[in-house]
């Protein structure tokens, strides 16, 4: 080798040494990619090839106790986006926006909210109209990554019937999604928003189908690796009887108010209506501005039967009578003379019959006449503390535990409460007003009927409930609700016997005699509460029958009533009772 060749060899040697170092750098990089980050990339590789295709399970049906379908799923179309497959995101989303009328921004927000891998299809629009579905189906071949898929939407075949019980479903909200993501909810999912739909969401919902598929680089399915079929939601059978429910709704008509029918023996609610009502289908198909305005003005979505709080008026005399009898202030022999009112602390407390009077009243006649003077006196003598104790025994300040969301508690006023709230002391007049269910005391309609049920059942309140059973859609296995005792009054049987006898007397005279049923003794009590506006009242009528072995308790209540006297409601409540006995057997019927 000559000198030049030696130089050249040295250069070549250095070059190859450098090259070797570079090769080792590649080994180092490989070490990082394959050993350090190997499991990460293995997972990315899995995500590359695996897609979970999830379809919603059919939501459980809701039926009445006789199998009448109240809520069900009907076929509909959804628009689904798989971001990975989008070729031109902006123009494709613009096309979808144009067809569906939903802005590109909303679509993009939905996609970003979904927070899933680009391979997971995201539902961006639910329940598109048929015309929209057809247009989209036509454009689908030009829109890779956008799919129209068969889905279901909720339908309430009877429209407004039992709307407040059923509630409605809707698209999962952002806050709900944050809370419930761990339970498998995803963006655009349907979720119960109110009523039974919300209360029994977990039963109705079912489990989505999940198909784990392997796809190639073009997104073409190569094979299905795992498949979990959808499990349809449980059907729910309500205690409601649609025929009774519809009677109640008919009676409420265009008024505001509530009507409830309940079996006092077990707490099964046979009807529960609130007016004004709404059509839950509109939550699925879209609510017009006019509807929304009307609903907002009239608080149509508000379930007055469980969440409305009203002065119970004379229906509260059941509580006052119980308190008087139990504390020994009165017996059923006690006579109190009604002269049309009584003056306490220089103020005249008028009986409703003022300026005349009822004359001598025992408790039976006092119930029959709804004599205010009698119960003013009883309340006054019993005193606020005992009144309060018995009001609480009847659960005025508690919920009944009905299986609906949003049940309100009543208000059981006390001297402390008044001082805290208004900064003024409790007067004897307050106690007297409370004695006739006026003043501060407030009750929900469901509590009111619960009180009458307790009286009917010798002091036992079975928890009012709407879920009769849930039924597995496949096995048909039925899980029935076991009735539970919610409260026991802790009041003597004798006292309740007297109260019942008094309530029975109510149906013997005057307008309330229209309540009478053939061969069945009815107990009832009316109530007419002042609204603060002259000649406008909230009117109540609660009843149960048969007197000796009660099977049905009913309550009808009008907020800002069309009647000035609650006794005018007697024919209506009669109709409710009559219908019940028609359907479920007459006197000592088999049911």
């Amino acid at each position: 080798m000559d000198k030049q060749q030696t130089t050249q060899a040295r250069r070549f040697l250095s070059l190859l040494a450098l090259v070797t170092v570079l090769f080792i750098c590649i080994v180092g990089r490989l070490y990082y990619l394959q050993v350090v980050k190997g499991s990460y990339y293995a997972q990315v590789a899995e995500e590359n090839r695996l897609r979970i295709i999830s379809t919603n399970a059919p939501r459980g049906e809701i039926k009445d106790r006789n199998g009448v379908v109240l809520a069900t799923d009907v076929p509909s179309f959804d628009v689904v986006v798989t971001t990975y497959d989008l070729k031109d995101t902006d123009s494709e989303l613009a096309a979808v926006a144009k067809i569906t009328g939903i802005t590109v921004q909303v679509l993009k927000d939905t996609i970003s909210k979904a927070g899933v891998s680009p391979f997971t299809p995201i539902t961006v629009v639910r329940n598109v109209r048929k015309e929209v579905a057809l247009q989209l189906a036509e454009r689908e071949p030009d829109l890779p990554g956008i799919q129209l898929v068969m889905s279901t939407k909720r339908s309430y075949p009877l429209g407004t019937t039992a709307a407040h019980i059923l509630g409605y479903t809707g698209e999962i909200s952002d806050t709900e999604l944050t809370e419930l993501r761990s339970e498998g909810y995803v963006v655009k999912d349907t979720i119960g928003k109110d009523g039974i739909e919300l209360q029994y969401e977990s039963l109705l919902r079912g489990q989505k189908s999940q198909k784990l598929i392997e796809v190639d680089a073009q997104g073409k399915a190569v094979k299905t690796l795992q498949e979990k079929t959808a499990i349809a939601g449980q059907s729910i059978v309500l205690t409601i009887d649609v025929q009774l429910q519809q009677i109640c709704e008919k009676l409420l008509g265009d008024n505001k108010g509530a009507a409830i029918m309940m079996d006092p023996r077990n707490g099964e609610v046979l009807a529960l209506a609130s007016a004004p009502t709404f059509d839950p289908n509109k939550f699925i198909t879209g609510i017009s501005d006019a509807d929304w305005k009307a609903w907002s003005q009239q608080h149509s979505l508000f379930n007055r039967a469980i969440a409305g709080r009203f002065p119970p008026a004379s229906t509260f005399k059941v509580v006052t009578g119980t308190a008087g009898l139990e504390t020994g202030v009165i017996t059923d022999d006690t006579i109190i003379r009604c002269t049309g009112g009584l003056t306490i602390g220089g103020r005249l407390f008028k009986c409703w019959i003022w300026p005349t009077g009822h004359g001598n009243e025992d408790i039976y006649k006092a119930y029959a006449d709804s004599c205010d003077s009698y119960f003013f006196t009883v309340a006054s003598k019993t005193g606020i503390n005992a009144m309060d104790t018995y009001a609480k025994k009847y659960g005025i300040d508690k919920t009944t535990g009905i299986d609906l969301p949003g049940e309100a508690k009543g208000l059981c006023p006390t001297p402390e409460w008044k001082m805290d709230t208004y900064g003024v002391p409790w007067y004897e007049g307050d106690t007297m007003n409370m004695g006739i269910g006026q003043g501060y005391v407030l009750e929900t309609p469901i509590r009111n009927i619960a009180i009458f049920s307790s009286v009917a059942m010798n002091g036992t309140l079975w928890r009012p409930h709407l879920l009769l059973a849930s039924v597995d859609p496949v096995t048909k296995a039925r899980t029935a609700t076991t009735p539970v005792v919610r409260e026991t009054l802790g009041v003597s049987v004798e006292t309740l016997e007297i109260v019942r006898k008094g309530l029975n007397q109510v149906t013997k005279t005057g307008g309330t005699s229209l309540l009478q049923l053939k061969d069945i003794e009815v107990c009832a009590k009316t109530g007419t509460a002042e609204t603060g506006t002259a000649n406008r009242y909230h009117t109540w009528l609660a009843a149960f029958a048969p007197m000796d072995a009660p099977r049905i308790a009913v309550l009808l209540m009008y907020e800002d009533s069309p009647y000035t006297r609650s006794t005018s409601m007697s024919p209506l409540v009669h109709e409710m009772l009559q219908k019940y006995f028609e359907l479920y057997g007459g006197e000592n019927g088999s049911n």
């Binding site: 590649i26 590789a45 590359n48 090839r49």
Partner: protein, 369 residues
Amino acid sequence: MKPHRLPLFFITSVILLLVFGLATFYVASLAERYTLGHFGSFFSYFQKTLLLLGISLVVAVILQLVPYRAFRYLITPAYAIQMALLILVLFIGRGAYGSRRWIPLVGSFGLQPSELHKLIVIIAVAFILTLSRRNLNTALRVLLVCAIAVPSALLIAKEPDLGTSILVLGVSVIMLVHFRLTSRQLAVLAVILAVAAGGVWAGLRPYQRERIETFLDPQRDPLGSGYNVIQSIVATGSGGLWGRGVTGSTQAPLSFVPVQYADFVFSLVGELFGFAGSTVLIMLFILLIWSSFLVYRSLTDDFGRYIVIGITTLWFLQALINMGMTIGLSPVTGIPLPFISYGGSSLLTHVSAASIVINVYRTRDELRF
């Protein structure tokens, strides 16, 4: 006769590389069958590679018949024919995405003149650098090398095949570096190259610039040109330490990595055989270049030495660039991995190159012409 007439290390490394390549395709085809339920494209690559390897070996044996020194007399017509083919391919060539790289031959087989041209340029440059010294000064020789390399590179760039074009220039430059240039002359050369590189950048097509930009930041456009690199990295990384083998590999059978049988074959190795297998392959390349160096060290003839320098340079440049691009260390240029990537012209070129190195070694002591 000397005791060793054959460069055994060198031959071993070449054979191991070829076997490694075949094994990779075979295992990939098994993985494909496992996933898809039937043999797919990888099996056909395996079969075609076997066939092409047979053809290449015949060519390699033929190349042993002529002592390499005779190449001095064959290189001028060979170069002329190659240039003609490079011009021809621009008119009748086929290739992906509207490129014109192959001259179609039989069925799906075609000839890619640019592949073989790398070898022709190496021999031509070696020829220029070793022309009788009295007639030529250094500057003239550099100019002559440029006259060989630059038109070739331009024609190849026109196909367009920027990677190969740069490779031709790169190999020529590194061969020049091994010429008896002083440090000052090397510095002047460096300046000229820098100016030329600037000119090339200015002349690049947008997609070519984009590739380089993407290389600098693959996440810039994950579904665009960065997609290949990301998928390649994912496939490579998913191999882990020991690889995912026949039953675990998914990216290859489901073709997530584009052209994983050719340009991105290293990611296939990574996925199937993991860090262990990839490292073995890199060791084989290191063995290849150092066994080439051993051949080089045994040579006294400059023509032979330049040829070995050129061929070794071709290999390590291609291997480094290819592996680098697979794992995101160098731009995506479409340069195949020697001996491993699927491709007839590529295999033929590299087996021929190996045959020439053997030829040089075998006939090194024969009489000079």
